[in-house]
């Protein structure tokens, strides 16, 4: 009983220390836990596999550095998959800070597959306006886009000239940390133009997307770092998401232990009363 009383009054800095250790140690000494593949992630992979070479995939980088740890590994794995399949990537962003992260992803992957900017991939930059912008973009890209992210006229790039309306976009893949993001693509772009939408979200916002998966408005979903790890497994790219899985597993187990201890304390307090 004394132990429970002590635990009830534990200094929260000890909890912080335990969480820190649980996160760091598996990164230094990997366990190599197996990563299973869930259906929503498999669907994203199958959608990309089913596209003919040269198809245009819109990648919308709708997050900022705050969600980089969760969504950037998914961005890398997805772009690698597109390039490996010789698909063309048309990048944009509903969040201003996402554009630089998207460029980082291109810089990391494109040289590996000898992909050329403007021909195989392009970044048209940050596009404000949320739903209204997406509705206009789907109807007439020229009304929204006249230059790439760096200000170079869009018509000077073959890929820039190739995308005129939503019909030219085979798949939209949004990496979304909130609003504006995946919901706008589903509610406005899919509903109005019928484009195939896939998504990657932070773990906290993944549960909200399941209703759209059920209705078929969202074809596939990478939920959090786990979704990214599954995608890395599918595209055979063992990188930071898989590396982070051991760490995330141990932290989750620790949280469950904390919850159990907390509830044992509650039960013992009730008995005393």
């Amino acid at each position: 009983m004394k132990l429970l009383e002590r635990l009830a009054k534990i200094d929260r800095r000890i909890i912080f220390l335990l969480v820190g250790l649980a996160a760091i140690i598996p990164l230094l000494i990997p366990i190599g836990l197996p990563v299973d593949i869930t259906k929503p992630v498999q669907n994203v992979y199958d959608t990309i596999e089913s596209l003919p070479e040269g198809s245009i995939v819109v990648v919308s980088v709708d997050y900022d550095p705050g969600s980089e740890a969760e969504l950037y590994p998914a961005t890398l794995a997805f772009i690698e998959h597109c390039f490996r399949r010789n698909l063309r990537v048309y990048m944009m962003g509903l969040w201003p800070a996402g554009i630089a992260l998207g460029n980082d992803a291109f810089a990391e992957i494109a040289p590996k597959y000898n992909k050329e900017y403007g021909v195989d991939y392009i970044n048209i930059g940050y596009k404000p306006g949320g739903p209204v912008m997406l509705l206009t973009l789907g109807r007439s890209v020229a009304d929204i886009v006249n230059a790439d992210y760096a200000g170079t006229p869009i018509d000077s790039f073959p890929l820039g000239r190739a995308v005129k309306t939503a019909r030219d976009m085979s798949v939209v893949m949004t990496f979304s940390a909130g609003d504006p993001g995946i919901l706008h693509w589903i509610i406005y772009f899919n509903a109005r133009f019928g484009n195939v939408i896939c998504g990657s979200t932070t773990a906290i916002s993944a549960p909200r997307q399941y209703q759209y998966l059920a209705s078929g408005q969202l074809i596939g979903l990478l939920g959090g770092l786990k979704g990214a790890a599954e995608y890395e497994t599918l595209v055979d790219r063992k990188d930071r998401a898989i590396a982070g899985m051991d760490s995330q597993s141990i932290v989750h187990v620790l949280l469950v232990i904390f919850i159990i201890i907390g509830n044992i304390i509650l039960l013992s307090e009730r008995r005393k009363k």
């Binding site: 969480v19 996160a23 705050g66 404000p128 306006g129 209204v132 549960p207 509830n263």
Partner: protein
Amino acid sequence: MKRTIPLIIVFGCGIFMLISFFIPLRWVQDTSQLLQTWYLGVIAFFVFIGIANIVRVNVNKIQRKLADWQYSIILLVFLFVMIGAGIFGGPEGGLFNYLFHNFQIPLSATMFSLLAFFVASAAFRAFRARNPEATLLLIAAVLVMVGRVPVGYWIWHGFPDLVEWLMQVPNTAAKRGIILGIDLGLISMALRVLLGIERSYMGGKD
């Protein structure tokens, strides 16, 4: 007149945009497109209003030496340094890229990562089975927490399927109910604005 004319504009534009969704006539679609392009133009001004507001609030804080006023200096300095680096060096510019990769990314990631520590502390102290509803929530949370990471699959191969079922059936049912409620509220709010019943967006008194 100061109130009537804006109300007429809101009513006219709102009703027009609403019916344009169902009328595929060329002139209707073109006018709808034009109104949306105007909206995008107006949005560009929001950035300036936002920056002006940040500057005003923080300059005021510095002048009055309110709590933590020193942070306002840092905020304003970096605000203008980033703007200057972006305008003069472009998005690929050395200083802009340096600040983005070496300040913004690590600082934002750090702020977000702190959540894990607070969640752990809250899980220990507050996530208690005090009544049947809380117990149900707690069981679901524990199952999802374990089943959504590889350790769950390692413990029992059926764990991920169980979690997927939880997400697809009970979670989706509850979310749909909540979202339908929110959307009905949004529709009624939009109608109130269109019909001029809700006027608070115009500011001032009725």
